[in-house]
């Protein structure tokens, strides 16, 4: 009851703020463009395994590590997330469900659907499926498909083979791709590595080339290659060219640059945006950050990414495609006109 009251109050407040201050986008030089961040996480401290707790608390002084639970839950709440987006000039984002008990824990579909419902249309849900008993997955698959009937606001599917300990070439995952194709729900698939403990980082879990057979078999399913093969454990663009090749070769392959705008990747970001531009695949790039992580992260990630695009000769049209246009096209979402845009621009 209390949660409902707080949620309603937050929605009313958020609605009031947005009603008074319509979305204006961000300035990319020549003009303002809208931004969508496809890659946001939610969750609860109690649904994270001990190894992930340790990682989140590794820089917290002994004696105060207990504060990480409340802080984490607060950070991952809908109001705070929307505030982070608003501060960054981001219209909305994709919110991922998660079933990764080996690594980062659980953010169940129903939990994500609730968060999406209280976001006032600013968050789009991505449903996921538990994969740690893949030989007996009939019930999981049926429940997974039912999620889209129960929660029409679920816009896509989130899979993380490396977190879920499933090889990218494992055909036992194909029924999920078939559902994606049949229901018209694009899939976001984690590629590359991750610094989170327990994440598999060998090529069969990281290199998107291992998905090629599935990409061919399900041409009606959209495969968005998360992190574009970025090896964030080794801090290298190890599988980026592999992702770009697939995006060049297959109509149903897209890419997302999550975590490439982080400070950790500051020496890679220029090389990364240049590879995408020179590969003529900017119409296949959907912006995401992998936030919220910590206060200010989604904003700094966006600023770093836009600055890199500007340094490397992206036009305003190209930046708009990457930052929101491709997302809107792939997900069939119409974004509102930007506040202050000249009539001729609308």
């Amino acid at each position: 009851m209390q949660k409902l009251f707080v949620g309603l109050l937050a929605m009313i407040l958020a609605g009031a703020i947005w009603a008074e201050d319509p979305y204006a986008g961000i300035d990319v030089g020549e003009r303002n463009v809208a931004v969508i961040d496809i890659h946001l996480h939610t969750g609860e401290w109690d649904k994270m395994p001990p190894g992930f707790h340790e990682r989140l608390a590794e820089n917290v002084p002994t004696g105060f590590k207990w504060t990480m639970g409340p802080i984490s839950d607060w950070m991952l709440g809908t109001d705070i997330m929307l505030g982070q987006l608003e501060d960054a000039g981001i219209y909305g984002g994709g919110l991922f469900a998660l079933y990764s008990p080996h690594t980062t824990g659980l953010a169940p579909n129903e939990f994500v659907a609730e968060r999406v419902a209280e976001s006032g249309g600013r968050l789009w849900g991505f449903a996921s499926i538990r994969w740690d008993d893949l030989n007996n997955s009939d019930e999981e698959l049926a429940a997974f498909e039912q999620v889209f009937a129960d929660y029409p606001q679920m816009a896509g599917i989130k899979l993380a083979h490396a977190h879920q300990q499933v090889r990218l070439d494992d055909e036992r995952a194909y029924p999920v791709y078939e559902i994606s194709q049949r229901l018209g729900k694009p899939m976001y698939l984690h590629t590359g590595s991750s610094p989170n403990p327990g994440t598999r980082f060998e090529p069969p879990y990281s290199d998107p080339a291992y998905l090629e057979d599935a990409i061919r078999k399900y041409p009606g399913a959209i495969f968005i290659l998360g992190h574009t093969g970025y090896d964030s454990k080794g801090i290298a663009l190890t599988y980026t060219d592999s992702a770009i090749r697939l995006a060049q070769q297959y109509d149903n392959v897209y890419m997302e640059p999550g975590a490439l705008g982080a400070t950790r990747a500051e020496n890679l970001i220029d090389d990364f945006v240049v590879r995408l531009k020179e590969g003529n695949v900017l119409h296949k790039v959907i912006y995401g950050s992998d936030g919220p992580q910590f206060p200010g992260y989604v904003q700094s990630h966006l600023e770093n990414y836009v600055a890199a695009m500007q340094r490397n000769g992206y036009t305003a049209d190209e930046m708009e495609m990457v930052l929101s246009g491709n997302f809107a096209r792939v997900f069939g979402i119409e974004l509102p006109p930007l506040a202050g845009a000249a009539k001729g621009d609308e």
Partner: protein, 155 residues
């Protein structure tokens, strides 16, 4: 007066925090285990190549987070018969699984999208291992990770 109260409050809170932190600290507990193992092919002679092994707790955690196959460590062997000693993490779960794959083509990668000739297998035990144990791993399927074999399909 106010400063004193605030100071006392901070000290009390810090002491409480320390107590909570100490009592919450996970207790790590290990047990030395020696594996005396043998690897064989499901059919035919064993091809040459390096054998790669990964050890797991068969099950880890409780409740919603309970899951199979929590990694312990990796090791390698140049021969089909091997001995390996390791510290089994008692605090991390129960049972033992040992996965093996044979690098038949010598590329160091457990199958690529085009080269798919590295056979693999898994052996498991439900009970928590201790002391010396004998195991046999049968390589039966190419390019298959541990999760392909366990948990097995229910009848």
């Amino acid at each position: 007066m106010m400063t004193f109260r605030l100071g006392s409050l901070l000290v009390t809170l810090s002491a409480a925090a320390l107590l909570v932190a100490c009592s919450d600290a996970p207790q790590e507990k290990y047990q030395t285990v020696t594996l005396n193992g043998k690897v064989r092919m499901i059919a035919g002679p064993m091809p040459s190549g390096k054998l790669h092994f990964r050890l797991y707790n068969l099950w880890y955690l409780e409740g919603e987070l309970r899951h199979p196959l929590e990694e312990i460590e990796d090791f390698e062997s140049d021969t089909a018969e091997f001995t390996h000693t390791f510290e089994y993490p008692l605090h991390k779960g129960t049972g033992l699984a040992v996965h093996a794959w044979l690098d038949t083509d010598g590329d160091g990668i457990f199958c690529t999208p085009d080269a798919r000739i590295d056979p693999a297998g898994l052996t498991t035990m439900d009970e928590t291992p201790s002391g010396e144990i004998d195991i046999t791993i049968t390589l039966s399927d190419n390019c298959r990770a541990a999760g392909f074999f366990y948990p097995p399909k229910r009848q």
